[in-house]
Amino acid sequence: MKIPLAYNLRNLLVRKTTTLMTGLGIGLTVAVLLAVLALVDGLRLALAASGDPQHVLVLRKGSDSELVSNFTRQMFLEMRSHPLIARDLRGQPRASLEMVSVVILERAGSSEGINVTLRGLTPVGIEMREGLRLLSGRWFEPGKREVVVGASIARRFPEAGLGSRIHLGKADWEVVGVMDAGRGIHNSEIFADLNLLSADNNRVEVLSSALVEAVDDESVPALIESLNQDRRLNVDAIREKDYYASQTSSGAPVQYIGTMVAIIMAIGSSFAAMNTMYAAVARRTREIATLRVLGFGRSSVLTSFLVESVALSLAGGLLGLLLVLPLNGVSTGIGNFVTFSEIAFQFHIGWRTALTGLALAACVGVAGGLLPAWMASRKEILTALRET
């Protein structure tokens, strides 16, 4: 026979101070875990939203990031007319030669700045990124010292807003537009004219990468295979999507430390929950005996106390979720060890994250409730009834 759940819930409500303190303790534990997971998930989403499934990124062989790749103009010219590369209406290949470097944007009056990816490209590169649109202003004109900045850069750096001038390397460049890449990574980048930028950097022949579009989805693997096999070209081709997905590892240190912290806190919270449950069992010794006299079996008592502990912890978990919820959508940045610059993204609390948090709470509840519940179920009826 099952002891009704209401019995447990009312008991929790009667001891509201203890319930609240224990629940809040568990809630904070869950909150720490959720905050970390929301950060990593937000980063993953930003990177997952970057790139196009039909695009292939080509780097010099042996390079694992655009920043360290020395992709030459010669390589580009040789691969540009590959039959599997799509062509636009004018018959031109959908292939974009690009140069990637890192610049530091400094806040006025402060020595601390953030590293930002500066990408030099030609109009075809912008055309190929179909998810990209202008929020305000216009695209830069080839041959002019003009840049377009990502939306999150414009937001975080008023100094780099529309109409202002920013100093990049040798000269001042005018910000003529702000672009929006949805959740994608180009929000944290600055786009400028390839030829002017490479001339400024003395890198006219040695650039960074090429982005090419396959004729259709099915031919992407064939294109990659064919570019990788070409010994004369000496390049590594990889799906653009995969390139960005691999950068999720930048969140690994935070995820590792945060998860460890949450686990240790969960162990601490389990002990606290155990304390609370032992006290509950001790106070209700006669009540337990009465339940047994009424015909509830040992297993019902065990289940009942375990359920009570889990209910308490889940309430705590929900509280933790509520505490973290305001974080959802808040912008933050993290250093990307692949691009050596900062990626801006938003905390994201999805179903999976929320359920992980509640699962942790339930674990704390089971760990904390099992022994006290076992003790409750082992009580001898006669001795227990006599207790005061």
């Binding site: 203890t18 904070l28 360290v68 790749s69 890192v102 530091i104 990049l168 040695v206 032992y278 050596f340």
Partner: protein
């Protein structure tokens, strides 16, 4: 006056609860202990004497942008500068870069200056000579060499990525050093030879050795001022600050540490307060008896506070023990940052941990103890708990 025996007896009365509370507080405090140790290692540690003399000069824009090699002679003219050495981060690929164990620091340096600028490096004299004599020679830190199984005379291929050149190096020596002991150093000239003309004459960083530590800030300012109006502006920092700038890159580490710190402390406070409230609630009747026996309200409160203090102190000691164990484990792990190698709880962080425990004990017990001490005798004796 302090009724130690009574406090001890009270603490041991409900052993299970005391133990659970001590464990709970101990777990949280060990976490705080480790956080404090990390904070101390990164932000409060004094640079070791050999490091305190060094500065790193890099391009103001970013590490990815080089400086002209001609800066070296100009920097050497600055008063207080003893030596300037080219130090080039050669990223490259050793074997298969998908295995993170194959990643280690590889620097192209000027060998004859290396042992002056990094004076803490110790290496057998014959190995040093062999390294200096051969253009394709390299030396490897002993812990790194042991990890990768290098032996003297081994040939290593590093495939270039930042630099369009593949290097064939021969291991000619193993060095030992208190810091940065997991790097490979090779001849910068050898790298320079393999580069196309357009990439020659460029340097990633200069390491500057100062005459004495007091001159370091002045030299940093002088270098940056010297190149303020050049095309490639510089950023000069002490070597310690330079390595911290990588940490800052991970995001707002301080805010991250502080928010975890706050959450853990608050959780601990809740646990301790809950325990004390429970044990006081059980004992209202007893408080009445104590008072009839002549104990004053102040003494009763003192006894209850003492109990909380005893429990949280035990938790604090357990926390320190666990934290120093955790520090030892972290020290042995992969050292992304040099500072991790020197992570230890140390007396100051241990003292802070115990002090925090005392504070938690007092705060958590204050309200229940005061309330219990205030209940009139008659009422408390009538109380049925």
């Amino acid at each position: 006056m302090f009724h130690f025996t009574l406090i001890l007896k009270n603490t041991l009365r409900n052993r299970r609860r005391t133990i659970l509370t001590v464990l709970s507080i101990g777990a949280s405090l060990s976490l705080l202990g480790v956080l404090m140790a990390i904070y101390k290692a990164f932000y409060l540690a004094e640079a070791p004497p050999e490091q305190a003399l060094r500065l790193i000069v890099r391009n103001r824009i970013s590490l990815a942008v080089p400086l002209p090699v001609s800066y070296m002679n100009q920097i050497r003219q600055i008063p207080g500068v003893r030596e300037v050495m080219i130090s080039q981060w050669f990223n490259g690929v050793y074997k298969d870069n998908r295995d993170p164990r194959n990643f280690f620091a590889r620097f192209a340096v000027e060998p004859e200056k290396l042992f002056v600028v990094r004076g803490e490096i110790s290496i057998p004299e014959d190995q040093k000579r062999a390294f200096l004599a051969e253009r394709t020679a390299c030396i490897v830190g002993r812990p790194l060499a042991e990890r990768l199984g290098f032996r003297l005379g081994d040939r290593i291929t590093l495939k270039g990525d930042i630099f369009p050149v593949d290097l064939e190096l021969t291991v000619r020596g193993f060095y030992e050093a208190p810091i940065n002991s997991e790097a490979l150093y090779f001849h910068q000239k050898y790298l320079e030879e393999g580069l196309p003309a357009g990439r020659q004459g460029q340097v990633g960083t200069f390491v500057v050795l100062a005459e004495n530590p007091e001159l370091v800030p002045a030299i940093a300012a002088a270098v940056d001022e010297m190149f303020r109006n050049s095309t490639a502006q510089t950023r000069t920092e002490s070597e310690q600050a330079f390595s911290l700038s990588f940490l800052a890159f991970l995001g707002n580490v301080k805010a991250f540490l502080f928010s975890i710190f706050a959450a853990v402390t608050f959780t601990m406070l809740l646990v301790a307060a809950n325990t004390m409230a429970m044990s006081v609630r059980e004992r209202v009747k007893e408080v009445g008896v104590l008072k009839t026996l002549g104990f004053t309200s102040g003494e009763v409160r003192g006894i209850l506070l003492g109990e909380a203090l005893a429990i949280s102190l035990a938790g604090g000691l357990l926390g320190c023990l666990l934290a120093s164990g955790a520090c030892a484990v972290i020290r042995m792990g992969p050292a992304v940052f040099q500072q991790i190698r020197m992570l230890s709880l140390g007396p100051s962080a241990a003292a802070a941990t115990v002090a925090l425990a005392v504070l938690i004990g007092l705060i958590s017990a204050w309200i229940p103890a005061t309330a219990a001490a205030r209940i009139p005798v008659v009422e408390s004796i009538r109380h049925t708990g």
